[in-house]
């Protein structure tokens, strides 16, 4: 698990991370979203015990990042922004180097390396030097390195950037499978579709502060308002309106479409449908209007910018 309270990092006179609170349980994926320079990498570096927090506390896999840095690092698999490959080493030499650094026993080292190379489709390139790898292959090899020692916590920075769709799909599947094995995962990404797809929690970080930290659905609700539902009808709608259903309002009315804002879909939607059927409205479909995480994210950033007093 990952837990952080009031985590702060100040460089000289610049506050890179300001009072960050995190709580990610095993089997959960936290996605850190934010513009470049928002403090994501610094947060990850503090969680890896590379940087010492200026203030606050953090525990990773049960170990304090300040008092037990070696144990934290042994429990964490990190995929950094840069792949960090050595161009003159082959894939197998590269993984073997890290396996040795992680203190992996010789008997399990090679089978594990082969397994990782197989898993990421790099088995055939095992003896090729990393310098000859494509961007996607490098990314996959770096990810294989991060997973090599089977860490309980994974900190992944842009794991699918520069990958072709097939490889990205493979990596996302790998992340899902790691989640299912109760690993705690922190994912930094700019890919909002990926974030929505994988995240159990989304934290939006801006200017070092986490401005929102919630599930994707709750984020949308908080930032874009209550969910909207659209009823498509076979014929022209007359002046019908729902009655006595609290928290339901019509936001759009067209000739064959009705769009509702529903505060509590669990209780309101059955009543709404009941009334529509009772009024013999020719319902073709009734579904939630898709609102992207991108809209919510942009709204969050806009709100945060509006809150910052202008100089």
């Amino acid at each position: 698990m990952i837990w952080a309270e009031d985590l702060t990092k100040v460089f000289d006179d610049f506050t890179a991370v300001n009072s960050v609170h995190l709580d990610v349980q095993p089997g959960q994926v936290l996605v850190l979203l934010g513009p470049n320079g928002a403090g994501k990498t610094t947060t990850v570096r503090m969680l890896t015990s590379i940087l010492i927090p200026t203030r606050g506390q953090a525990k990773v896999a049960g170990y304090d990042v300040v008092t037990h840095p070696d144990k934290v690092r042994a429990s964490v698999g990190v995929l950094t922004e840069h792949h960090g490959l050595y161009s003159r080493l082959s894939a197998i030499e590269y993984l073997e180097f890290y396996a040795r650094l992680y203190g992996m026993d010789a008997s399990i080292r090679l089978p594990r390396i082969n397994n990782m190379l197989e898993q990421f489709g790099l088995a055939e390139a095992r003896n090729r030097r990393c310098g000859q790898f494509s961007k996607g292959m490098r990314q996959k090899l770096a990810l294989a390195r991060a997973l090599l020692h089977e860490p309980p916590v994974l900190l992944l920075d842009e794991p699918t950037s520069a990958m072709d769709p097939e490889s990205a799909f493979m990596v996302r599947n790998a992340i899902r499978s790691m989640r299912s094995t109760h690993r705690t995962i922190v994912l930094c990404t700019h890919n909002l579709t990926e974030a929505e797809d994988l995240a159990d929690q989304i934290a939006i970080i801006q200017r070092g502060r986490i401005i929102f930290n919630d599930t994707s659905a709750n984020l949308k609700r908080r930032l874009l308002g209550a969910p909207e539902y659209e009823a498509r009808l076979a014929g022209v709608v007359n002046g019908w309106e729902p009655t006595n259903i609290p928290g339901v309002s019509i936001v759009q009315r067209a000739s064959d479409v009705l769009r509702f804002r529903v505060e509590d879909p669990q209780s309101a939607n059955p009543l709404l449908l009941e009334q529509m059927i009772a009024h013999r409205l020719p319902i073709v479909s009734f579904q939630e209007v898709h609102r992207s995480l991108e809209d919510a994210y942009l709204e969050a950033v806009r709100q945060a910018a509006a809150e910052v007093p202008h100089a």
Binding site: D13, T48, R73, V78, T80, G84, Y86, L89
Partner: protein
């Protein structure tokens, strides 16, 4: 212990394998190891023949160990390039972060990289030296004696380690190889001066001084390694960068350390200066002992370099001092400013030397000055003159103020060197350096400069009068 050294081996092994796959490193090492010694061999043989024609065999004999040192130094100088590439190159390519995310201890990473930067160039050095010496033996040229060879080998090793240790310090501060190369002049210039000094000592043929130089280099290397270890921390490597010079921050850091939070001069003198003086107690005692050792060394050198002055040199002393008192009348500021300026220059020189050498060379001016005092007093005694009276008349009147002030300024320089080589949690090198320079400036402005000015006035206006009274 062996278990904790295993990651060091893993790091070094990878680095060395990487280097031997890079033709840009391998090719020059081969040239410097195999071809360059042949060239030096030819040069040595030709020079021997040439100088012997004019009876200058000794020049040829001294040239042979000098060329041996050069043959060893050239491949070992690669250690600097490799070290910069190993440390900053990795930072620049972004491959350092995954490495720092492993359970490696900072010292393991440091030692692994240090040894990988030192071992291959040193291997090249020894191979080159072997080729050179074999060539000499085949050509029946005189070989350097065992002590000289041992000295050259030891100096080659220590210099390589010193350059790499310096490179680590530079690497911690730079985020690109380009910036590191620019900063490496802080290593190249002192090492070049060192090699020049060693060359002179070799031609002089003074083994004792060469051994002293060797131990001096060891001390510097130790301090650089300590500093490297102090600053080769994850925090320092990824959290710091000086590619952008933050002058405002630099000035604020200096000013805060200089004022120590005092709101006015009175508060500064009452609170900050005593605190700094307390912090300088130990360095002051050390500098004092070094100064005393300087006097003793100067005194002992009288036996080695005795000067028997002609008796007429000490006649008409009263008349001569009279001329001095006439020339330096109280109220004439020209001579005062000259003496004061000279002393100030020596203090600035001590700081300058101290910056490049962790204060090792910074203490030299005071030691040398006091050694000269000891030597002069010894010579006076040797010539049957009252050294005590000379001291009391010509030195003591102003030295009681001048010497403690100089010792205090040197103590601040010594402290700055010690602080640089000591881990400072959460502080970067520049910060530590600026703060220690601020402490030096505190002492200079608060105590040393006023004391030196008063001492200069005493030296010009009072000392000649007192001397003429005492030595009458």
């Amino acid at each position: 212990m062996l278990k904790s050294l295993y990651p060091v081996y893993v790091i070094a092994h990878r680095e060395i394998r990487d280097q031997f796959r890079d033709w840009r490193i391998v090719f020059p090492i081969i040239i410097l190891t195999i071809l360059f010694p042949f060239l030096m061999n030819y040069t040595a043989q030709e020079m021997l023949g040439f100088v012997s024609k004019y009876g200058g065999e000794i020049v040829g004999e001294r040239l042979i160990p000098f060329l041996l040192m050069i043959v060893g130094f050239f491949p070992s100088s690669f250690s600097l390039i490799i070290a910069l590439e190993t440390f900053v190159g990795e930072k620049e390519r972004g491959s350092i972060e995954p490495l720092l995310s492993t359970p490696l201890e900072d010292w393991q990473l440091y030692l692994g990289k240090l040894s990988s930067a030192v071992v291959p160039p040193l291997f090249g050095s020894f191979l080159g030296m072997t080729v050179y010496l074999t060539g000499l033996a085949i050509g029946r040229a005189p070989l350097p004696d065992g002590e000289m060879m041992a000295l050259i080998i030891l100096l080659t090793i220590v210099q390589a380690v010193m350059m790499v240790s310096g490179a680590v310090v530079v690497s911690c501060q730079a985020t690109s190889v380009r910036a590191a190369n620019l900063l490496s002049s802080f290593i190249i210039i002192p090492v070049t001066l060192l090699i020049q000094g060693e060359s002179m000592l070799m031609f002089w043929g003074n083994y004792g001084t060469l051994w002293m130089a060797f131990f001096g280099v060891i001390l510097l290397t130790f301090l650089l390694m300590r500093m490297g270890l102090a600053y080769f921390r994850r925090e320092e490597l990824l959290g710091r960068e000086i590619d952008v010079l933050n002058l405002r921050w630099g000035w604020m850091t200096f000013w805060q350390a200089f004022t120590g939070g005092a709101k006015n001069v009175w508060q500064w003198y009452r609170r900050v200066i005593p605190k700094t003086l307390a912090a300088l107690r130990l360095p002051f005692v050390i500098v004092f002992l070094m100064g005393a050792a300087g006097v003793a060394i100067g005194f002992s050198l009288v036996r080695q370099f005795p000067i028997i002055a002609p008796p007429e040199m000490f006649t008409n002393l009263e008349e001569r001092l009279g001329l001095l008192t006439e020339a330096f009348k109280p109220g004439t500021f020209g001579p005062v400013l000259m003496v004061f300026g000279n002393n100030l220059r020596v203090m600035a020189l001590a700081l300058l030397l101290g910056i490049f050498s962790f204060a090792v060379l910074g203490v030299l001016p005071i030691i040398v000055t006091l050694a000269v005092v000891g030597y002069i007093l010894g010579i006076l005694g040797l010539n049957g003159l009252p050294a005590g009276a000379f001291f009391a008349g010509l030195i003591l009147p102003h030295a009681w103020l001048e010497i403690p002030a100089a010792l205090l300024a040197t103590a601040a320089v010594l402290r700055s060197g010690a602080l640089l080589a000591t881990p400072a949690q959460g502080k970067k090198i520049g910060q530590v350096w600026l703060e220690s320079v601020a402490v030096w400036a505190q002492m200079m402005i608060g105590i040393v400069i006023p004391a030196l000015f008063i001492a200069a006035m005493i030296e010009v206006w009072i000392t000649p009068h007192l001397a003429s009274l005492i030595l009458r």
